[in-house]
Symmetry: D2
Subunit: 341 residues, 4 copies
Amino acid sequence: MTTQQPLAVGLIGVGRMGSFHAETLAHRLPGVRLAALADPAPGAARSLGDRLGCATACTDIGELLADPRIDAVVIATPARTHAGLVEAAAGAGKAVYCEKPMAVTLAEADRAIASAAEAGVPLQVGFNRRYDAGFRAAHAKVAAGGIGTPQLLRSLTRDPQLADPARIAPWTIFLETLIHDFDVLRHLNPGAEPVEVFATADALVRPDFKDRGLLDTAVVTVRFDNGALATAEASFQAVYGYDVRAEVFGSAGMLTMGDVRRTHLTAYGPDGVAAESVTYDQHLFHDAYVAELADFADSVRTGRTPSVTGEDARAALSIALAAIRSVTTGGTVRVDELQDR
Amino acid sequence: MTTQQPLAVGLIGVGRMGSFHAETLAHRLPGVRLAALADPAPGAARSLGDRLGCATACTDIGELLADPRIDAVVIATPARTHAGLVEAAAGAGKAVYCEKPMAVTLAEADRAIASAAEAGVPLQVGFNRRYDAGFRAAHAKVAAGGIGTPQLLRSLTRDPQLADPARIAPWTIFLETLIHDFDVLRHLNPGAEPVEVFATADALVRPDFKDRGLLDTAVVTVRFDNGALATAEASFQAVYGYDVRAEVFGSAGMLTMGDVRRTHLTAYGPDGVAAESVTYDQHLFHDAYVAELADFADSVRTGRTPSVTGEDARAALSIALAAIRSVTTGGTVRVDELQDR
Amino acid sequence: MTTQQPLAVGLIGVGRMGSFHAETLAHRLPGVRLAALADPAPGAARSLGDRLGCATACTDIGELLADPRIDAVVIATPARTHAGLVEAAAGAGKAVYCEKPMAVTLAEADRAIASAAEAGVPLQVGFNRRYDAGFRAAHAKVAAGGIGTPQLLRSLTRDPQLADPARIAPWTIFLETLIHDFDVLRHLNPGAEPVEVFATADALVRPDFKDRGLLDTAVVTVRFDNGALATAEASFQAVYGYDVRAEVFGSAGMLTMGDVRRTHLTAYGPDGVAAESVTYDQHLFHDAYVAELADFADSVRTGRTPSVTGEDARAALSIALAAIRSVTTGGTVRVDELQDR
Amino acid sequence: MTTQQPLAVGLIGVGRMGSFHAETLAHRLPGVRLAALADPAPGAARSLGDRLGCATACTDIGELLADPRIDAVVIATPARTHAGLVEAAAGAGKAVYCEKPMAVTLAEADRAIASAAEAGVPLQVGFNRRYDAGFRAAHAKVAAGGIGTPQLLRSLTRDPQLADPARIAPWTIFLETLIHDFDVLRHLNPGAEPVEVFATADALVRPDFKDRGLLDTAVVTVRFDNGALATAEASFQAVYGYDVRAEVFGSAGMLTMGDVRRTHLTAYGPDGVAAESVTYDQHLFHDAYVAELADFADSVRTGRTPSVTGEDARAALSIALAAIRSVTTGGTVRVDELQDR
């Protein structure tokens, strides 16, 4: 591959997130082209390919990985397939961008990381919040010492509505939702690592699904090795919208991030002051989703280390697994004593 | 009067504003006592006196002014009586606090100012916004050079609802409402004076009263002698509340003031983000109304010049009269060519 | 006492908070008079009395309690003396307003509550946030079902600066600071009671005092019997000001409260957008501090139950004691298994 | 042209705005391709073409217009050349997108409009604010009656810094800057048209250039035929950033738009609360600039009337010309009596 040629990227998994990434690869990034689509669901890749003008579409992921014209892949399949696909893609010599969570066990994470290292390919993970303008500026300010030493942190995710609870796995809230917040906490506390985790969770949105193990509401406390105390909080149903916020308080100041308001329009009427809220992650994080793939493409082209690594994915996973164990045992869990379930 | 004795203050006019001031004199100011109430309306002063524990109440204002035990008076009667009462009170040797507008003609204003000067009594005017914490901080910052030279200013007043339009005089919006904004513009552009005024006004809230001369909506442009261009804007009916804001933009920065939100509570629901609004001036300016009387009492006690003078009242009146003439003639009006109508 | 006579209130403890309450009793409340001051520190009560025009001042609290002309007392002494003074005051037949915390052990709290009940006197506790306009509106909205069932709550207190750490007791952050937040969490989750508590705390502001047991930073998780999960968070030093906020998220909406901005003034300059912050509790809660004493006076006059009761104080104390035990043991603590340390 | 083929767009004028539009045409719009670039400056088109992968670049605009492979053109040259280029492009049968102002005299505007009509090609004008999410939502709400009848409007533009004043023409502030605000006022007062204009302007940023006719600060009042009173305000130098805001107040509510804050990050430190501001129009309006070209492409493809027409450009120009005459004469100017200077 020369820099003259556009980077040829294959997209695996054409669900909601995969489709957005496919559009980004097809239209939004100079120097990048959507080279192929793969999804096991019959017709899904083909249909999206038609819409986006991508001629190569298949149901066999292996076929995509075997295509020598493809430089890099974006993995946007269901969470439990991620790590295996990272291994396969790295094994095929492709640069790899993998949606979060990169893995759901530490062993898987270790294998995924090792596979990329052995193949000498870049591996980037989809912690998109790091690419949001506000979160990015916050990280830069913290890293530059702008708030002194972080002491208290908070990150939260509240999804606008709970989809069919029957399709949610018991630990989804930790492995797929709070995994973002765990990464945000690490990112806003640069250089520090989690020591101890306490978590509590419940089925408050859909108590009728509690006996199936569904947890839709959770609060997690994390103690970091620099002393900072952090909380992460999630709910699967916020009637007012998609609510993602964070806060980092330090010895020399505080930063807050996140705003559920959709635009800068404010309306004043007989009932007071009002603004519309964001209800869709692809509105809130549109630019961040594009920026993370642009950054991935840049790391592939330049050969530099990706900005969000497999190690970052593993570290966030560690907190998630510790939280899950804490819910199970009712006590605190030390991250360094963690072993796979 | 010694500093040992509380300052004895008489209140003239027990309407909405007068009643609030009476409560302030009775309860909210250390070192001050409400000594007497006068209002021509039979029983009105007596009734308020009973409620506030003030034994002296009368319908004859002259009786109050003649009372040698009274140190100072607060005038809160209808606007057109203000200047005459200032003269009478000053003539009786009382320190005078007068609600805005202090006068409705320049001749009246001059006589009122002269009467206080001759009597050697303090004369303060009720431009309460100067005492609001936000406006006060803004003035201090501008006066300290914090935004450089003011270049563009804006002040607005929107009342929450139009009372019976049949009771409103044609020029009320300039003489009684925008008079506040004209003072704010001068206060936020310290040291500068208005040169030229252009105004336009209409009956948009109640067009059916336009043929009686009612004007309920107005926009005024003022050019100051330091070059600054200012707008003042008023409406007699804002369905969302009592809206008072200002903005001063200068060569080195900008300040904005005013917030219609009632508290720091924000509500998020299926319709988005919401907050309640202020609908009552005595909520928005409660503290400012108390602070202006406290400041008046202090100037009486210490003998210093009041913070808001008769000259300030006259200067704001000049802008109002120029605006009225501008509406009448359709052209710009130079303030220095202004003569009473 | 008849309603004709002002309520005679004695103030015990003339420190920072006591002095403010004394001013309120002396000047800010119609129908109330500051009848006496007592403080063991020689000259302290006398000096404040001179300033406020209160002739009766003593160093012997018993003398104040024995004065038959006094209807009610406000207790604003150091925390550990509160419960005993409540007992003594109730025993002397006085209506009692006690600053938080009303007690520092459950046994003390029970005795204080019992003493007021036996004496048939009102007992109100100083959880001032309930009287802040924003918190009050939030409680009303939650109580009216405006956000459905509370599911996630947060309350935080960050003091602007850490005074001499040598003067702070080990558990101060829980017993005197977070006690406010524990009450806020209960107040914003009306009808629910805490079940289980997990707390973590550290000396991050002044690590050099950690070996003396000082804790200056804490995070507490509380699970309520309606399933709601809550966090309370405190720091003894926020360089940017006095930061008090809360949030309650429910099945039908969310409310946020608290704003560190001092006024509605916003400044725009070469460095961006700026606002001043509040650095002093008596600025932020001025009106709430007055309102709570007005409400106390009203409950004394009318004989109704106070709005914030000894039972409320005990409930908040329970959470504090559970948090302390959780820090000690490293595990979760059930509130119903709590016994005094 | 079929819908299968991408729309071939030629870009004329590769300055700051033209370069951004060229990038949009090259990379940001599915179904659109940047087919050619033209700019009289030697090498400018070629250099941008190399960067964007556009092979056709020339210095002769006529050459581009003569190219039969080009479906549409985007005109981003200096203002005074716009109308002539619209005529030429329409004459060549191209669909035309023209940056604002489309014309600087009414005669020019009429000819430009007529030329597009005669050629039967779409003509869209670059009032980008209509495509900003907040302004768009505001227009929709007003058009749906959400604030009743508009009564008071405001729109302002403050550029972050004054470039070399020697290069600015005397009426630039009206013809190139406030032209946006005049369009916003019309757009937020749908169906109404301007009746009368009063304007005042000065050289406050660079008084040393006043004798050359430079005006860098202006305030304009516009009365509309539905009675609404509007102000537009501009400054060429706001030290705090690029400030674009608007407000529309009506009989049933008010809307405000615009926020100079760059992101949702807020910083709290010893000096208070702070946020960064936007200093660059291509940050503030990035999405709007893309959306307007997407909308243009859509109107070309579908044959529908563009959303922002030549008539819209002429109407905004009328206000600008009336404002210029008002500054010249010192009086109000009726729009319907306007003739070209």
